[in-house]
């Protein structure tokens, strides 16, 4: 559905040191530096897939989204989405996509949200019946029945974000780009947004491409992640595999009755209290079940939980590995 092949994009960035004199000099002579925002990017995404696109700030995430949505023309490389080249057949292409920029609003500031929706209906030439169906569904799922009668400027961020997402989906796009959709949201709104995206993907087979810094979004929503750093794709794979590959430790949290515990090699106490302990296990040396049987042979275990490292930790390791 989405095929991206060898896309590169270079930006010219002007540089100068701080200070008035430097600013004055820059009036006459500017030093430019070429920054490769995208460097030979290739990937394929199938219909109905949900992909997390991650990387540190300035890695090229937004640039990729802009190329895919037809805003930016790359210097080289090709890209086909539904058989179209986004920047060449922009008007036809954008009918099929929805884009949410978490940091920018697409709603008209001073009028009730529903007025913005009506305007979008006319911009996209959505047939009345389809519009009504979509609106009913979105209003229901996102729980914005009351909110859409309020002017945008009076909405809280969470309310606004739900309306933004609704606005991007009124024309039933096949592909949805979400650029940091949960930025700045509280826990309840975040979960509402995530649940909605899952539901959308399940019911409409909408392809979702998500960029975020919130690894819980990734964990909750996507099976596949693409890691980009300094304009290059560093990794493309399922979250589970990456997790397995990049982390060798499992963490056991136990409540027990008994005296002290003798650990074998490959196990390490992180926290040791009376009747409570946290132990890291090096999974290269022994399995979790081995570790549990060692423990249960020594003390009576009341409660036990096994956790892997958080996605945040995995990603931090990844960033470290690639020096980005």
């Amino acid at each position: 559905m989405i095929q991206v092949e060898h896309i590169s994009k270079t930006f010219k960035v002007s540089r100068r040191s701080a200070g008035f004199l430097e600013a004055f000099k820059a009036l006459f002579h500017r030093e430019y530096e070429c920054v490769k925002a995208l460097d030979d990017i290739s990937f394929n995404i199938d219909e109905g897939e949900m992909v997390g696109y991650i990387g540190p700030n300035g890695a090229g995430k937004s640039s990729t989204i802009k190329v895919l949505s037809g805003i930016l023309t790359p210097d080289s490389g090709s890209c086909h989405i539904n058989g179209r080249i986004p920047w060449k057949e922009r008007t036809a292409h954008v009918k099929d996509i929805g884009v949410v920029f978490g940091q920018r609003s697409q709603l008209w500031w001073d009028v009730p949200v529903v007025d913005s929706f009506l305007l979008l209906r006319d911009i996209y030439k959505i047939p009345d019946k389809l519009y009504q169906n979509n609106l009913d569904e979105l209003v229901n799922l996102l729980d914005i029945e009351q909110i859409i009668r309020t002017p945008t400027r009076q909405l809280s961020l969470g309310q606004r974000m739900r309306c933004e997402i609704a606005a991007s989906l009124l024309h039933s796009p096949k592909i949805l780009f979400l650029d940091e959709p949960t930025i700045g949201l509280d826990a309840v709104s975040k979960i509402a947004v995530r649940d909605f995206i899952l539901e959308l993907n399940r019911n409409h087979k909408t392809t979702v491409i998500l960029t975020t810094h919130d690894m819980q979004d990734i964990e909750y929503l996507t099976k596949r992640i693409i890691l980009i750093g300094k304009g290059k794709i560093l990794m493309d794979g399922s979250l589970e595999n990456i997790r397995k590959e990049y982390t060798d430790t499992k963490r056991l949290t136990i409540d027990f009755i008994g005296e002290d515990i003798q650990l074998v090699e490959g196990m390490k106490f992180i926290l040791q209290e009376k009747n409570h302990g946290v132990i890291d296990i090096d999974s290269k040396m022994l399995t979790v079940s081995d570790a549990i049987s060692i423990l249960s042979s020594q003390v009576k275990l009341n409660d036990i939980s096994v956790t892997g490292p958080s996605v945040d930790e995995v990603v931090a390791q990844l960033y470290q590995k690639y020096h980005i």
Partner: protein, 258 residues
């Protein structure tokens, strides 16, 4: 057109959200234009004619240029403030809509508070029509309307050109206002009073005289050639290079920020 009407309604609703601000800006606009009018009046109290043009003729000319400029500023505001639209990333949004981008920028911003200045120009126009000695036959009325429309198109084109330049500079070019605000100020007198060089510039580079000077000659009966009344339509051809430059700019667009 239906879509444009919907955009218009949204702008109207937004403007009414801030009633007092809207009112005050409108009144302010009315009085700034009024001061210029007073200036013209004082001058004519002393000199009676400027290069053979009478007071009411100059008022007529002034009101036509002012009205054309005001209409352009009201409805082509999106291009006038285009540097902001680029800077805050709104233009990305425009490119995400399945419509012509010129239409979207045009409809995306309207400055309805300019209605104060529009009112002022209508009053001056009415006054000028009343006091001048023109016999208002149908062809004179058509000429007048063509002058206003042609002028609006020329100012609109200038705004579009400035906007197109923003694609390369990413910021507004203040000196460009010479051509819009400047023309509004100096356009109150027929352009031939400024001498040959400026007159040539205002004909061949930016065709101001085609909607102001030449049809004005016809309007005041100084010239009988009927072709002169159609010149504002020729002036509108200025839109072609303007839009070409704009299209060229869009292809060079580099988005900003995240």
């Amino acid at each position: 057109m239906k879509l444009y009407r919907r955009f218009f309604m949204i702008h109207l609703k937004s403007a009414f959200q801030y009633k007092i601000s809207f009112l005050l800006i409108s009144i302010g606009q009315f009085f700034t234009a009024f001061m210029v009018f007073v200036g013209v009046k004082f001058m004519f109290d002393r000199f009676h004619t400027v290069k053979g043009y009478t007071y009411s003729e100059v008022l007529l000319c002034f009101s036509i240029v002012l009205m054309a400029f005001t209409l352009a500023e009201m409805f082509v505001r999106g291009f006038d403030t285009f540097s902001h639209i680029i800077a805050n990333g709104e233009f990305d949004r425009v490119l995400l809509r399945p419509r012509n981008e010129i239409f979207l920028v045009l409809a995306g911003k309207m400055e309805l508070s300019r209605v104060g200045r529009l009112l002022q120009s209508i009053i001056i126009l009415a006054y000028g029509i009343n006091t001048c000695e023109i016999i208002w036959s149908w062809d004179k009325i058509v000429t007048l309307i063509l002058m206003i429309c042609g002028g609006t198109v020329i100012f609109a084109c200038l705004f579009i050109i400035f906007a197109a330049l923003c694609f390369f500079t990413l910021e507004g070019l203040e000196f460009m206002n010479v051509f819009t605000d400047g023309a509004r100020e100096h356009g109150k007198y027929p352009f031939d009073i400024y001498g040959k060089k400026i007159f040539k510039f205002c004909t061949y580079i930016i065709p101001y005289t085609l909607f102001q000077y030449y049809p004005f000659l016809y309007l005041t009966g100084r010239e009988d050639n009927k072709l002169y009344m159609l010149l504002p339509i020729v002036a509108s051809l200025f839109a072609i290079p303007s839009i070409m430059l704009w299209k060229f700019g869009v292809r060079h667009y580099k988005s900003t920020g995240s």
